[in-house]
């Protein structure tokens, strides 16, 4: 009897130990759920968070994030999120109302889970402080496409890291190593990309939308103009005439368009002037080759350089 009781005690102890042993990795695996507005931020958050975060992007690739219409499921995603990452700079203005509606105070403006990734970025094309269209440019508080400068990823991942550490302190070391490793890999690629794009240096380019300011600054590219006078408006006749003159007088040989941007006026200019149309992606997932952040920049660099090498 005593022997069987003893055996039972052993069994109980074994079960407790087993449960503890099994439980600890579960505790470690309790991942931080993050909602990012764009796929680019998602990719950067995954680079820092590694296996300890699960990230959802709200805006699908190849959609204009500025005109995104939230879906019912987005509310559920925000309700359960511990962090929300946004581009800021008036790029994803719709997020504020969505967060408010979700009732999740932690991720509201000023909350511990609220991350504006434009923090600390040196903004370009600043025209004013008002929200909404102004002076031929919807980006009243600066050009929002700052993630296209790979060096800005340093600041962006720093902001993400800080928020992750604030919300998941036990894993701080892990996140720091992840980020350092990512930045090391990125820095190496940036050196390569600068070399690859030396072919394009100073060559005049035309783009459909003013997406490429930061990309141009980093890689010393010369965008001489934009086809779209204001977001969502096709160019007017005199503008189109002026663009044709610009393309011819400055010998622009490449016009840049994104996959989701309208082809009509780009193709028209290309047909009139013989300039080549190149499709570049401004966000992760816009083309299949750009499946994550480094891949996105790599695709753009290679495509642009190839267009010029072919043209020579």
């Amino acid at each position: 009897m005593a022997k069987s009781l003893n055996a039972l005690r052993h069994l109980a102890r074994a079960i407790i130990v087993a449960v503890l042993v099994l439980w600890s990795p579960v505790a470690a695996l309790a991942v931080v759920s993050i909602v990012a507005t764009t796929t680019d931020l998602k990719s950067l958050a995954e680079a820092v968070g590694g296996g300890r975060v699960s990230v959802v992007a709200l805006v699908p690739p190849n959609t204009d994030a500025e005109e995104y219409q939230p879906r019912p499921h987005d509310l559920n995603r925000l309700k359960d999120a511990r962090l929300v990452l946004r581009v800021g700079v008036d790029y994803d203005l719709w997020l504020d109302r969505l967060v408010q509606q979700s009732g999740n105070r932690a991720i509201a403006r000023g909350g511990p889970g609220y991350v504006d990734c434009s923090f600390g970025i040196a903004l370009l094309d600043v025209r004013g402080v008002q929200v909404g269209p102004a002076g031929g440019h919807a980006h009243g508080s600066g050009n929002p496409h700052y993630w296209l400068d790979p060096v800005n990823a340093e600041m962006m991942t720093a902001v993400i890291l800080e928020a992750l550490v604030r919300n998941d302190a036990p894993n701080a070391k892990y996140y720091e190593t992840q980020r350092a490793r990512f930045l090391e890999r990125l820095a190496e690629r940036v050196r390569q990309w600068e070399k690859t794009l030396a072919v394009v240096h100073g060559k005049p380019l035309l783009a459909y939308h003013n997406t490429w300011a930061y990309f141009a600054r980093r890689f010393r590219l010369n965008f001489v103009g934009y086809i779209e006078p204001r977001p969502g408006l096709p160019p007017r006749p005199s503008q189109l005439a002026a663009l044709i003159r610009v393309v011819q007088s400055q010998r622009v040989s490449v016009i840049v368009r994104q996959p989701h941007e309208p082809a009509a006026s780009v193709d028209f200019l290309s047909a009139k002037t013989g300039a080549r149309v190149v499709i570049l992606a401004s966000s992760v997932g816009a083309v299949s080759a750009a499946s994550e952040y480094v891949g996105l920049l790599d695709y753009n660099v290679r495509t642009l350089a190839a267009a010029f090498r072919e043209g020579l």
Binding site: P60, P61, N62, T63, D64, A122, L123, L124, D125, V126, R127, G128, V129, G142, H201, G202, A213, A216, R217, R220, L221, N222, F223, L233, P234, P235, R236, P237, S238, Q239, L240, A241, I244, R245, P259, H260, E261, P262, A263, A264, S265, D267, F268, A271
Partner: protein
Amino acid sequence: MSDALALLWLPFVLSIVLVAIHTFLGLQVLARNVVFVDLALAQIAALGATVAFMLGHPVSSSGSYAYSLAFTLAAAVVLASTRSWSQRVPQEALVGVIYVVAAAAAFLVVEKAPQGTEHIKQLLTGNILTTGAHDLAFVTPLYALVGCGLWAARARLARSGEGSSKWLWDFFFYACFGVVVTSSVALAGVLLVFSFLIIPAAIGMLYADGVRRLFIGWAVGVLASCVGLTASYVWDLPTGSTMVCTFGATLAIAGIVWPLRSRDTAAIVARGARVGVALALAASAAWIAIAPREDQPLLDALELVSPVVREMYLSRNEMQIYTDADEYAQRYSREADRLNDKEAQSRWQGEPLSDSDVRRISSFLQSYNEMRRGEEFVKREVRARARTRVRWVLGAVLLVAACAVFPWRLLNIPVDGARRPLRVRPQAAPSDS
């Protein structure tokens, strides 16, 4: 000038082709009382193209066109079958339902491929300015064929027969119409195609009968297209919208000229116009007296047209402040532009700017913008104060102007036959006059 010609001759030729076929179709559409059928068919075609896109056919391929056509023909079957389906519900209601359901369904289908949203927008907005010669080479023979077919069948189409032959001719009409609208909308966009379809035909119907309606419609349509394209170039406005507004203005002019053809109705129009102007002046007089600091649409418009009006009520000192503020505002925005250009240049030329330089430029830009807004505020405030000061005088002037314009004879009740009584309702019975 050669720039303008090189850019505008293709859109103009396309406009002529579109006016030619759409005026003809528009007369039929107005006769059938299905004004919005082109929107419904265009949307159905867009739905077909979207489905094709989802099935892997590239945009503007023959596969995509085939799907558009199949969807449009299906819609033509529905429209032909329901022309006299019920005496209780007008067919226009069904046309509207087809439009909204097709639009919603296209967005549902395209939900799976986000870049398709832009594709749908493209199908509906079009851009006549970027038409290529190959577009013209495709639609011209197609429209000529459809036009000849409809012309040959015009007697049958007009006859209100019964039974299956009537159904067949209705189907023939909607099918032809669908083919034309599908192609036109992709080139010129929904709004412009609607204008091409309805406005010249409506003006033709207003002024003539029989085949002359068609000629009047063509002449008016070509003229309006020419004016619209020129206006768009000269004043640098979006082409499609400018053309639609030109067509609208043409209809308005035609509508105003129509009653002026007889002297009695002309008198009524003139009196109505005077009453309208007088009321607007009187309302402005009251508004400036009540709320001189608010927007004054009439006064603002006058000042925009001739700034002299502003000088009349601003004192010398106020005028000085106003012009100074204006100059400073312009200077700040020039400075901001200069800084922006400099930064953009530095992206690829000379020494690259450091992040802190870029930040410094940004804060300068923001300050310039704030200062510019400050100057704008000064301008508004000076003007508002001056208006408050002179509100009674301005109000009185406007009121006097209103009194001068108002046709007082309207209120005169004829006493002892000294004045000729006004005929108040000659329009209701034109046969009397």
